[in-house]
Amino acid sequence: MTRISMSNRHVFSAEEIDALFMATGFEANALHRALSQGWLFARRTQSLRPTYIIPMEVHETIRKYLFDQMKGRVVVRTTPPLIQQDEATCLVQDFQTFIDYVSNHEIQLTTGGAMYKRHVQRLMELFSVPEDLTIPEWRFGYGRRTHDYPDRLALLYDFAYDQNFVIETDEQTLVVSDAIREWTALSRAQQMQRILQFYIRLYRRPIPRLREIVEVIRTLAQEWVESNSVLAACGSMVSQFYYDSREAVWNQRILKMLTHLGVIRLGFDQESDEQWFQMTNLGQELLTQDELQLVDETSQSQASIIVQPNFEVMVTVHDSQVESALSQFADLLSAGSIRIYRILEQSVQRGLAAGYDFARWRATLAKASIGPIPGNVERTLIEWETMHASERPLSS
């Protein structure tokens, strides 16, 4: 009953109901009892199996009661903690970095099918949320490449692979496919939501009740809540998984990943070891709205870039299309809340050798730029173009 009520939905198929009742260890006639008690109703459909419905009013009331009970056990604070870890949309930013990096580099894979360490290290330098590269010996269950990469990168990689954005070729190289075009057209929030859904799908195997846990978090953590008290309230929903203790599953697999996904923000104080967390507005939207409803503040304003006289290009309002275009002829220098690219002679040469259209690129730059492109940059770019365009037949 708890699990039915926790769920967002109120219509269940017969298999789901069976599974739910079985998992909770009810005796065989539990379903009949629920039906006879009058809070669950069967409805015949065209197919032979019935669907089961819990009336909305009843559902809401039970739900409210259950959550109120849990809320009573959770420790809440009103002043925000000093140090806060809020990654907002960093995940999709770094995903973009990853895709651009793969597009512009020749990436050879090891016999095991993983990227060589030097690429991973370079990626970590460019990521706005870098990870420790030491990977424990025992790792499985959390995705296809968990044993090769740290958690966050593994999630991004598996997502890219799952969606066919990247392809591991027979020659053991990694390439970006055309499928990425559809992705770059999505808004940041829509992109975040897709990765979030992928996470729940992927991590549901080791954590079967992940969907419910996320729902509990969404409901309880409107304010800053103390992590251990929420874990206690979750009770048996969180359990250990082989090498991961219950606490590790909670901290590493759930809270940490939800932070990466921008759903919650973590908080700490200077003197104490207590960990706190709170839902973000982004998280609320990602979990409660469907893709078309997701309003994206960045889609209102056009991507805006600034071309500086020292050949740096700053992107202040993010846009995947502009960014992947930029990376054709410029190197990503740093990715914080501003992405900084630098145009160098080598990067222009590289872009020309790859066959990208430089004239069109310059036009894009001029269009997206706030204010004119500094004269020295403009002139030098033209100079480089004439210089290296003539070399192209030789190199190709």
Partner: protein
């Protein structure tokens, strides 16, 4: 509106209308107190949260929570966790080590952990006598040395050495006709209000630092010692005191070494440092024996470390450091702050230019090719002579002449590195030349003539780098520069930064395709990144006349529409 874009653990970009906010209290003024500006390329300004800046904030009474809350308030996206822990870690160290006077002896106190950590640094360890677990005795004469060694090792030391003795009051006030500019008033305000008593005010060259010093003394109404880098600026200070305060020559004067010190004494760092043959300081004790109300350190950024150390040993109720924008090729900016005091106020060039207090400067790099003959000897010369050959490119002479003709009515300063070539220039143009060997009297005399407009062109060797007030230079021509010293470039630019309608010109002559070109790029990068224009023209353009003006206009104005910029990345940047 101030907007902060956190970038990573230490760096953040700042944007918004910075120019309107030179007065204190605005969020922009606050940014300068907790972070160091690294680049200024409007509309974006790059700041770094350095240890030194964060400790500065501690000294001004900020906590880590204050800094984080302040940044969070204006940040467009959440602060990276690494940035928050960087701030906390740096600021936690503040207060770990305290220097105290106990029974007439100096004692360094801290937790056992910190003390054992600092003992790992030999430079620190050798200054500690009687080291015990949680304290160590420090000899009084090594106090400053210890401070510097600790700062270098990354440990701030809480030591507000300001003595408790009340200084001699002095009846000094500003003449009512003197109107402080808003940023000057704000600087004085910030310094006087700062409880620690010691602080550094950072203003660009030509922004009137002397006035800030004079006004601070007038506000505190006490005796004062002013330390300046050379005689020329000493007499400039004296003039300022006589013109802008009620003091007369019996109360303020330059110290010549013999007569009794006046309530307000101006002296040079050299005199402070001067030693007798026996090795004792000749004058230091005279200055040290007096308990000054205020010691002013002019141009602190120029001081070599040992001098700063000695100067910091003077006792006074308050210390005021006046500094141009601090960049040191030796990277020892920290010394200034750890020895003199925290930065209490800073205004940047671009802000003051926009407000009309500094003139808009056009920077032009003139590319002078080497003649075939010189090219041959350049190619043949060993590496260490190449720079000199490029610097003394004889073809620069014609360009200098052409520029002087183009700016026929302007006052021109010609500056360079090697005196031999400068001498030729001065002979050719028939104008006076000053170098390190020129007697002081003649130097002052020439400055004076130039100031009055009696000489139109003046040639200066490296001495031009230090503080001299040459208010009327409209055009500066840099014939050659020190090996890529950005400090030098900033100083020289400062010569033409003083306000005057119609804008100014700063020409830098560089021999094409030589070592000099690469060095010049290094220096220019500094100016480009702080929002100055750099245009490149060839010598031929200058010689054929008129094209310079055309060239400058042709380059589109940058986003803020003030500066024209020209810069190319150095290979391997």
């Amino acid at each position: 509106m101030l907007q902060i874009y956190p970038q990573d653990a230490k760096f953040l970009y700042v944007t918004g209308n910075t120019t309107g906010d030179v007065e204190d209290g605005s969020p922009f003024a606050k940014i300068d107190l907790v972070a160091q500006r690294r680049q200024s390329m409007p509309p974006m300004y790059l700041y770094e949260l350095t240890h030194e800046r964060l400790w500065n904030a501690c000294r001004l009474g900020w906590s880590a929570a204050d800094v984080i809350t302040f940044l969070r308030e204006y940040a467009v996206s959440p602060l990276p966790t690494s940035m928050q822990s960087h701030i906390c870690q740096a600021m936690e160290r503040w207060g770990d080590l305290v220097l105290q006077e106990v029974n007439g002896r100096l004692e360094l106190r801290g937790s056992a952990k910190v003390l054992s950590q600092i003992r790992q640094h030999p430079e620190v360890a050798r200054l500690l006598v009687h080291a015990r677990q949680q304290s160590a005795i420090v000899r009084a004469d090594t106090r400053v040395a210890l401070k510097m060694a600790l700062a270098k090792a990354g440990y701030p030391l809480v030591d507000d050495q300001v003595s408790q003795v009340k200084p001699q009051p002095l009846d000094v006030s500003l003449t009512p006709t003197l109107q402080l500019r808003p940023y000057q008033a704000a600087a004085v305000e910030q310094f006087v209000a700062h409880k620690g008593g010691a602080g550094v005010v950072v203003l660009p060259c030509g922004a009137g630092k002397t006035v800030v010093g004079v006004a601070s003394l007038a506000k505190l109404r006490c005796s004062g010692l002013v330390l300046v880098p050379n005689e020329a600026s000493a007499s400039q200070w004296l003039q300022h005191f006589l013109n802008w305060t009620n003091l007369d020559e019996s109360q303020v004067g330059l110290d010549e070494g013999r007569q009794a010190l006046k309530p307000v004494t101006i002296t040079t760092y050299q005199r402070l440092m001067a030693k007798r043959r026996s090795g004792d300081y000749a004058h230091f004790h005279r200055y040290a024996s007096i308990h000054w109300g205020l010691v002013i350190y002019d141009e602190v950024h120029l001081l070599p470390a040992p001098l700063t150390r000695l100067a910091a040993e003077l006792t006074s109720a308050r210390r005021l450091g006046l500094s141009a924008t601090l960049i040191r090729e030796d990277g020892r900016t920290n010394d200034v702050f750890s020895l003199i005091g925290p930065k209490v106020y800073e205004a940047h060039e671009d802000q003051l230019t926009a407000l009309g207090f500094l003139s808009d400067v056009k920077c032009v790099e003139v590319q002078v090719p080497l003649s075939d003959e010189v090219r041959q000897s350049y190619d043949a010369a060993p590496l260490r002579q190449k720079y000199r050959i490029a610097a003394d490119n004889p073809d620069k002479m014609q360009v200098i002449e052409a520029l002087c003709q183009q700016h026929a009515s302007a006052q021109i300063l010609i500056m360079g590195q090697y005196t031999e070539f400068l001498q030729q220039v001065s002979d050719r143009l028939g104008c006076p030349m000053l170098d390190g060997e020129t007697p002081k009297e003649r130097r002052l005399h020439e400055y004076d003539r130039f100031r009055r407009g009696q000489t139109r062109i003046l040639v200066l060797s490296r001495i031009a780098n230090v503080a001299v007030d040459l208010p009327n230079a409209d055009v500066a021509i840099q014939v050659s520069g020190l090996f890529g010293s950005r400090q030098e470039e900033a100083q020289r630019l400062g010569r033409v930064l003083r306000p005057k309608p119609g804008g100014k010109n700063f020409y830098s002559l560089v021999s094409t395709s030589t070592l000099e070109e690469r060095r010049a790029r290094h220096r220019q990068q500094y100016l480009v990144e702080r929002g100055f224009a750099y245009t490149q023209v060839s010598a031929a353009d200058i010689l054929s006349e008129g094209t310079t003006v055309h060239e400058v206009k042709r380059v589109p104005e940058s986003r803020v529409g003030r500066h024209v910029k020209e810069y190319r990345p150095v290979s391997g940047d």
